[in-house]
C-alpha cells in the first residue's frame, strides 16, 4: 500500500461535522498532526463533498441530539454515503436509542446506549484500557490486540452484531463499531497517543 503524499492529502477533503460540541479542536489537531488539512463545517454542500467525515462529541446524548436537530444535521448525517467516524458520544449517537436522557438517536448502527454496570468497578470509566479488535479489520491495521486507548464515559453499547472491537470494564462492551459507511469508537483516538494516531490514519487511508 502506498503512503499518501502531502500533496494528495491536500486535495483530500476531511471534514469534522460541527455539532457544537466542545472537543472539536482536539480532533482537528490530531488530524492535522498526520499532515492532513481539515475543515470544521455544518454546511450541507461541504459535508456532502467530503471524502471522510468525523462526528465528534462530548456532553450528553440529549444535548447533542438537540444540537444536531437545531442545526438541521440529522437527515443530512443519515444520508451520507462516505466513511463517517463517530468518536465517543459521536459513536453513541450512531446507535438507535440512548438511555442518557431517553432520546432517539440516529439509528445507523444496531443497539442502544445504556448505563455501564457499576458492580465492582468505578464510574465514569476513565483512563487507559485495552481493546480486543476483530482480526483483519482495516480500522485496526497495525494495532495489536491488547493496545491501550483512552476512554471517558459512563454509558456504553453492549457487544452486538456491528461490534468490531471490545473492551471490558466490569462487563464487556463495544469499543468500536462498523456498519456500512458508518464507523464509531467509544474511546478517544485523538487522545490515545501512538495507537490513536494509527487508528485515525487507518480511517483516513481506508
Amino acid at each position: 500500500m502506498t503512503q499518501n503524499t502531502i500533496k494528495d492529502q491536500a486535495k483530500f477533503n476531511v471534514v469534522i461535522i460541527d455539532t457544537g460540541c466542545a472537543n472539536l479542536s482536539s480532533v482537528r489537531f490530531a488530524i492535522e498532526r498526520l499532515g492532513y488539512s481539515v475543515a470544521v463545517s455544518r454546511d450541507a454542500d461541504v459535508l456532502r463533498n467530503a471524502d471522510k467525515l468525523f462526528l465528534p462529541g462530548v456532553g450528553t446524548a440529549q444535548e447533542a441530539m438537540k444540537n444536531l436537530a437545531d442545526r438541521e444535521l440529522i437527515d443530512l448525517v443519515k444520508s451520507l454515503t462516505q466513511p463517517v467516524l463517530g468518536i465517543c458520544l459521536g459513536m453513541q449517537l450512531l446507535a438507535e436509542f440512548s438511555a442518557e436522557g431517553n432520546v432517539a438517536t440516529l439509528g445507523l448502527i444496531s443497539g442502544s446506549i445504556d448505563p455501564m454496570p457499576s458492580k465492582g468497578v468505578r464510574l465514569p470509566h476513565m483512563g487507559w484500557n485495552q481493546i480486543e479488535p476483530q482480526q483483519d479489520h482495516p480500522l485496526f491495521k497495525d494495532i495489536p490486540s491488547g493496545s491501550y486507548f483512552y476512554f471517558v464515559h459512563s454509558y456504553a453499547l453492549a457487544v452486538g452484531g456491528d461490534t468490531i472491537a471490545t473492551c471490558t470494564h466490569g462487563a464487556p462492551f463495544t469499543a468500536a463499531v462498523n456498519r456500512n459507511n458508518f464507523y464509531g469508537v467509544q474511546f478517544h483516538p485523538e487522545r490515545s497517543s501512538k495507537a490513536g494516531a494509527q487508528l485515525i490514519k487507518n480511517f483516513l487511508e481506508m
Partner: protein, 257 residues
C-alpha cells in the same frame, strides 16, 4: 484492565511552569509546551495544568496556552485554576482541554458543580481538593485559595464530607491534594487516601508527597487510587516516567505500555 495513571502536574503562573514548596516560593521551571511534550513522549498517561495564579487573583487570565498544548499533545489533559462559570469551562474545553478541574469556586458556590456536570457531562468535571491534616484537632480540613498564601483559608468542610458532597453534585473525578505533604517528597498520605477511597466511587487521584518510585507503588497498592499525580520529581528529573512505569509493571501494577 483499566491501567493506573501516572500524571505529571505542571503549575502554571503567567504562562510559565513554576514549582513551589508547600505552595510557596515559586521557582521558574520553564516553558509549558516543550515540557508537556517531553512528558507525553516519556509515557505520561495524562497531564494536569494548574494555573495557580488564577483563583487567587481577580484578573482575567490569558488561557491561550491551552490551545498550544492541545495542538502538540496526544494524551488527555486537564486544566485547573480560575474556572468560575459555564462560560469559563466552555472556553477551556473549546481550546482543546479534555477536562476542567474546579477547586475554590466550587467551595464558594457548590451548585457550580451541578451546572457544569449538566452542561458538559460528569466525565469532564474534576474536583480538586486541598486538604490539610490539623494535628491538634486530628481532622482533615479543606482549604481554599491555596494559590496565594496571603488568602489561603480553612473552609467549613472536613475533607471527607466535601468528597461526599461533590460526588452527589456530579463530580466525575477527584484530585485529593494533601497540603502537609506537598513538595516535601516524603510519600503520599496513604492513610488519608485510603479513607477517601472508601467513600469515593468515582476515580480518585493522589496528589502531594511523591519523592521516589516506591511511593507510587505504595499508593496504588495501599490506597487503590486510580492515578498518582506528581510535579517536582518529574520536573527535576529525580524520576524518569518511562523508568517509573517499568518499575511499576515489575511490581505487578497495571500500567499502560
Amino acid at each position: 484492565m483499566l491501567a493506573k495513571r501516572i500524571i505529571p502536574c505542571l503549575d502554571v503562573k503567567d504562562g510559565k511552569v513554576v514549582k513551589g514548596v508547600k505552595f510557596r516560593n515559586h521557582e521558574l521551571i520553564g516553558d509549558i509546551v516543550p515540557l508537556a511534550k517531553r512528558y507525553a513522549e516519556e509515557g505520561a498517561d495524562e497531564l494536569v495544568f494548574y494555573d495557580i495564579t488564577a483563583s487567587a487573583d481577580e484578573r482575567v487570565v490569558d488561557k491561550s496556552w491551552v490551545s498550544r498544548v492541545a495542538e502538540v499533545i496526544d494524551i488527555p489533559f486537564c486544566v485547573a485554576g480560575g474556572i468560575k462559570s459555564e462560560e469559563d469551562a466552555a472556553r477551556i474545553l473549546e481550546y482543546g482541554a479534555d477536562k476542567v478541574s474546579i477547586n475554590s469556586p466550587a467551595l464558594a458556590d457548590p451548585s457550580l458543580i451541578n451546572r457544569l456536570a449538566a452542561k458538559f457531562g460528569v466525565q469532564c468535571i474534576v474536583i480538586g481538593i486541598d486538604s490539610y491534616f490539623d494535628e491538634d484537632t486530628e481532622e482533615y480540613k479543606v482549604y481554599q485559595f491555596t494559590g496565594d498564601e496571603t488568602r489561603t483559608q480553612v473552609t467549613k468542610w472536613t475533607t471527607f464530607e466535601w468528597i461526599k458532597e461533590v460526588q452527589k453534585r456530579g463530580a466525575g473525578e477527584i484530585v485529593l491534594n494533601v497540603m502537609n505533604q506537598d513538595g516535601v517528597r516524603g510519600g503520599y498520605d496513604t492513610v488519608q487516601l485510603s479513607k477517601a477511597r472508601k467513600i469515593c466511587n468515582i476515580p480518585l487521584i493522589a496528589s502531594g508527597g511523591a519523592g521516589e518510585m516506591s511511593h507510587f507503588n505504595t499508593v496504588f497498592k495501599e490506597a487503590d487510587v486510580d492515578g498518582a499525580l506528581a510535579a517536582s520529581v518529574f520536573h527535576k528529573q529525580v524520576i524518569n516516567i518511562g523508568e517509573l512505569k517499568e518499575y511499576l509493571r515489575d511490581q505487578d501494577v497495571e500500567i499502560r505500555t
